[in-house]
């Protein structure tokens, strides 16, 4: 089979990315970038003016003293410069790669084999990567600006409340492309590699956990998932036959409704011999619920003032479909990946439950259905085991052994020590902003955390850090308070460069992967939601979502 298409599309994507990098480096896009990042651009302009004024003053002083003009010091790169440089670097690397492969695709003769397969896959990968870049670099800041601009008229920031950030926008754009325009033929094979990006993202996530964190989150997730997943499966198996659903329909639904959505239904359908109509109704129901949850969960989480651990635990348990768990977690917390870290532990726990649930369903089906073929349960367990989880554990092991960063990094070693240098302690203007915030906080723990921060000029515990993250979130548009808490957080955590890079890569991998997954959600498949699976899925899904929300709010502390 020939996979590749003789299309210049990949070469064009590569050239466009190279041009983006070059134009950014040359400063030709400064006007547009300034419009996209008004805050950073304003600071940048002020820094440039200050730098020029300082240089002029130094030159005048030297002239007055009859000395030669001092050599002008280069300006420290601003946040605005950093944003442009980061985009240019990534655009050069990816653009160069895509352009080179794009030329090869056009030149190499079509012939069956590995080379043809890869030549058929890379254009689609470039397609989703290009869209993810456009969303993150252009649409995300654009919607943030529009949200703020519309706030005086609407009374609310629609982009913030509706979580219209690069994750949600990427998924939505993917869905628009597949449903309105259709995926171009040259990109079809590569778009399916979205799952590779996501799995790689999960594997790399393994580098971000401390052993204590993983143990505590793991235990919490086993309890929550154990209760809600097994409970949902049990409920469906109990209720399905009473509703008159066939064994195959009942057997197909619980995995999807209870475990990890589409992936679970795909894994379970063959072992319960699900009929085509059962599969269509069940998958349609799960996709419909998944998309609804992805939009509603982050907004509910914001309205309830949930923190990363609470929201991650809730999304990881309550959302039917696992792809939307990652989407909702990143939509809730797009610029840090604390929520994703929590949610993905829950996702991994769900996936580890999957082989057991499939075996349970197979045994249930064989017992109830006359003439059903017996299933080799051992073979099912091995075949359904999620191998990428081993990669996650391997990366966790490496990071625990200090391969990527000193172990102190994970514990936030600068909380208790007196090692924070004077220049890292909070400055007067930070303290003034925090003092002004003090009367506005209502919870006693927030008042105490703020008072302690003002007294010590630094964070002293992880609990305090977590509480203050909530304060920073509540501060909304008070930049001074956000900056002060951010500075205190930076001084305490001392992120390792490698770990920071991992965080960036993980965010990119999920952004690309979820954009690609968006291209696999068709309205035609969602429209198949119906029949008894829709009733069962809706009732059990609602019970699971509300039940897990109550449990999380009551029992899950923000700090783990």
């Amino acid at each position: 089979m020939i996979y590749s298409h003789k299309s210049p599309a990949l070469l064009i994507i590569g050239i466009l990315m190279l041009m983006w990098g070059w134009l950014n480096n040359a400063g030709s896009l400064d006007g547009m970038q300034g419009w996209l990042h008004p805050g950073a651009y304003k600071e940048h302009k002020q820094a440039v003016e200050k730098h020029a004024a300082d240089a002029k003053a130094a030159a005048e002083k030297a002239a007055a003293e009859g000395k030669p003009a001092p050599e002008a010091k280069p300006m420290k790169p601003s946040k605005f410069d950093g944003t442009k440089a980061e985009q240019a670097q990534l655009a050069y690397i990816l653009g160069g790669l895509f352009a080179a492969v794009g030329v090869l695709v056009l030149v190499i003769p079509k012939k069956e084999g590995h080379l043809d397969y890869y030549a058929g896959v890379v254009p689609g990968m470039a397609f989703i990567v290009g869209i993810a870049c456009a969303v993150r670099w252009i649409l995300d800041p654009m919607f943030a600006n529009w949200g703020k601009a519309a706030q005086p008229t609407l009374g609310w920031d629609f982009a913030r409340i509706m979580n219209l950030n690069y994750i949600i926008l990427g998924i939505v754009l993917g869905m628009i492309i597949v449903n309105v325009f259709r995926i171009p033929a040259w990109a079809n094979n590569g778009v399916r590699t979205a799952r590779l990006f996501l799995k790689t993202g999960v594997v790399l996530l393994g580098t971000l956990y401390s052993a204590a964190e993983l143990a505590q989150l793991g235990a919490l997730s086993v309890v929550m998932i154990g209760f809600f997943v097994l409970g949902s499966v049990w409920l469906v198996l109990l209720w399905g036959p009473r509703m008159g659903a066939s064994n195959s329909m009942t057997g197909c639904s619980p995995s999807g409704v209870g475990v990890c959505g589409v992936s679970a239904a795909v894994a379970a359908s063959p072992v319960v011999n699900a009929k085509a109509v059962d599969i269509a109704f069940t998958l349609g129901t799960i996709l419909l619920w998944g998309v609804l949850c992805m939009f509603t969960f982050p907004t509910i989480g914001q309205l309830l003032g949930m923190g990363p651990v609470q929201f991650g635990a809730w999304a990881g348990t309550g959302i039917l479909n696992s792809a939307q768990v990652a989407g909702a977690a990143l939509a809730f917390d797009p610029h840090g990946i604390e929520t994703l870290k929590v949610a993905e532990i829950f996702n991994i726990t769900r996936v580890l439950f999957l082989p057991l649930i499939v075996v349970w369903l197979a045994a249930w089906y064989v017992k109830r259905e006359v003439g059903a073929q017996k299933v080799d349960l051992g073979k099912v367990l091995v075949a359904k085991f999620p191998v990428f989880v081993i990669g996650f554990l391997f990366m966790f092991l490496l990071s625990t052994m200090g391969v990527f960063a000193p172990s102190g990094h994970y514990q936030g070693k600068y909380f208790a020590h007196e090692q924070v240098k004077e220049d890292k302690l909070l400055k007067e203007k930070d303290l003034a902003a925090l003092q002004a915030m003090l009367p506005k906080v209502t919870k006693p723990e927030e008042t105490k955390a703020l008072q302690d921060l003002i007294a010590n000029r630094k964070l002293t515990s992880r609990e305090q850090d977590h509480v203050l993250k909530g304060v920073a979130k509540a501060a909304k548009d008070d930049k001074a308070v956000k900056d002060a808490i951010g500075n205190a957080n930076k001084a305490a955590w001392h992120d390792s460069k490698i770990i920071r890079a991992f965080r960036d890569w993980i965010a990119w991998l999920f952004a690309i992967g979820l954009t690609g997954l968006g291209m696999q959600i068709t309205v035609a498949s969602i429209k198949q939601a119906g029949g008894k699976p829709l009733i069962i899925g809706s009732v059990v899904g609602t019970i699971k979502a509300i039940g897990s929300l109550i449990v999380v709010l009551l029992f899950v502390k923000e700090f783990v």
Partner: protein, 153 residues
């Protein structure tokens, strides 16, 4: 009725509406004169039915794809065999064609291929009736067909 179709294209996939179309087709057909071309469409929404599955390995996805193909094949074979038997009982010749795609597009493509004298389809499924959400686009048919179209009631 003076009009006797030599080739009658019947879109039929086992629903209640399709059964009405079958009855209408048999009413128009004449034994030993009319050839029924049975079109069974597997709707193209099945191409997206792995949805956003990302956790499974290739083995599991392949097992699912094979399972779905077998199920769809069994459904198609059952309908094709049943209609062929009904035609045989009435002395009508019957050719069956199974196509994958958007129903109206498949029907138009087959109509171009077999040049029918009459095309018979079932009525649109009443709202709220259970079944696949994959409807025949009547406007597309009206614009694209050159043969008369009979929609059974």
């Amino acid at each position: 009725m003076s009009f006797i179709p030599e080739t009658l294209l019947l879109a039929h996939h086992g629903t209640d509406g399709a059964k009405r179309a079958e009855a209408a087709a048999f009413a128009c057909a004449v034994a030993s004169r009319t050839r029924i071309v049975h079109l069974f469409v597997v709707p193209d929404f099945w191409a997206g039915m792995q949805g956003d599955d990302w956790l499974n390995n290739a083995w599991t996805r392949d097992a699912f794809a094979v399972h779905v193909e077998r199920q769809l094949d069994a459904e198609a074979t059952m309908e094709v065999d049943a209609l062929a038997a009904h035609c045989m009982a009435r002395g009508l010749t019957c050719n069956s064609l199974v196509r994958f795609g958007e129903p109206a597009e498949c029907l138009l493509a087959v109509a171009r291929e077999v040049q029918p004298d009459l095309v018979v389809i079932g009525p649109p499924r009443p709202k709220g009736t259970l079944g696949y959400r994959s409807r025949m686009d009547l406007e597309k048919l009206a614009r694209g067909l050159t043969a008369p179209l009979l929609i059974a009631r």
